[in-house]
Symmetry: C2
């Protein structure tokens, strides 16, 4: 028996544009409206990226501040998770919004390949992002693009770089990183339970067409889901 | 019942210096002498790095040519594996020795963190190194620093980027990459057998004090060993 499934809605993401899908919310007001609809439909975490006027990904703290304020006003009680991912900025600019003290932020703890490049999360940047989250009371969501990232989260928890038991998201289906493989998915769950305890929560996200597959696997296995 | 264990001797490596251990063979003649002793003691693969006069790692094809020639002369029948690892050069310089047509070369197929930096193996470099190995008849040894690297090897084999069934080495105990974890080790073996067949060979290496641990695990599990 599992508790209720937490639905985390990624309202915008870092990549899709209006040209790909006219329904993608880009402006702050579009994002707040979209998140409110999802919140009313039952989503309780909003995973947020912000964009520049030309729709390119940004990590501008002022934009994040406006989004955070809008979400707090229109979706009272919704958990706001801001992305510190590498598609929206480089180096410490990726964590410039952490002093805003969102409820949560994403935290990549290792490096891996992406479709056409290296997703770079050098150890000193990982340490700095974690320390900023600690300093500002922000709960990290660990993005596990590969198995060793779960072990890195354990090490960081042991060292006090992560305060609470790590909340890990399995990211599958990224080309040149981990494919959406059911046996690996089950091994990820087993590893989370081994390292963090049998009742440790976890969530999963699939990229593109793998999203619905991962939702199915996660919900039916007692995990939480990312849209 | 398993066949005989293949011992691959890493005579020099990329990092240790005379100041760390006076016995580390650095010059070509020291390397050939050391490899010959190992060959006579039963090692059948030599994993090779070359160094500059000041002991810093190098990927100079002329140095590799001299080493290859010395090994072929003094260790007839020994399999020579040249490193294309990222500690000895950057970009395509890492593969400049492949036209020498060594029996084997190491091939990293993904990126991961190292103790203080990102070990960068961008997808286009991985593709190029693999194509050079194909063009020059060099058998790759896949260096798996994380689980997804085994899946990447499968994808490359399926696409014809790797000619024979991939020969994978599990690398464990690198700080910020995969620790030397026995359950993961067993899962690596299971994954190799699932993806490449129940009789697929594999080998394992541990970094520093993990070396002897990994040797024990590998030899007792039917794998091959790296010194
Ligand atoms: Zn995101
Ligand atoms: Zn701060
Ligand atoms: Zn090496
Ligand atoms: Zn060539």
């Amino acid at each position: 028996m599992h508790g209720p499934c937490i639905i985390c809605v990624a309202i915008t993401g870092s990549l899709p544009r209006k040209a790909d899908n006219p329904a993608v919310p880009i402006s702050i007001s579009e994002q707040v409206e979209s998140a409110q609809q999802a919140f009313e439909a039952g989503a309780t975490i909003a995973h947020c990226h912000v964009r520049d006027e030309d729709e390119t990904p940004s990590s501008d703290p002022e934009k994040f501040a406006a989004l955070l304020e809008g979400l707090q006003r229109h979706c009272p009680g919704m958990i706001v998770q801001l992305s510190t991912g590498g598609r929206s900025g480089a180096g410490q600019a990726r964590g410039g919004m952490l002093p805003l003290r969102p409820d949560m932020a994403s935290l990549s703890v290792g490096s891996n390949n992406f479709p056409t490049r290296v997703y770079e999360n050098p150890p000193d940047l990982v340490d700095w992002l974690a320390s900023e989250m600690l300093a500002h009371g922000v709960k990290p969501e660990i993005e596990a693009f590969d198995l060793s990232h779960i072990f890195k989260a354990k090490e960081m928890w042991d060292k006090g770089q992560i305060q609470d038991r790590p909340y890990v998201q399995f990211v599958m289906g990224v080309k040149n990183a981990m494919p959406a493989d059911r046996e690996v998915f089950d091994y990820y769950i087993k590893t989370v339970h081994r390292l963090f305890g049998p009742d440790a929560p976890w969530c999963a996200a699939g990229i593109g067409p793998n999203q619905i597959v991962l939702n199915d696997w996660a919900v039916s296995s007692g995990g939480h889901a990312r849209t």
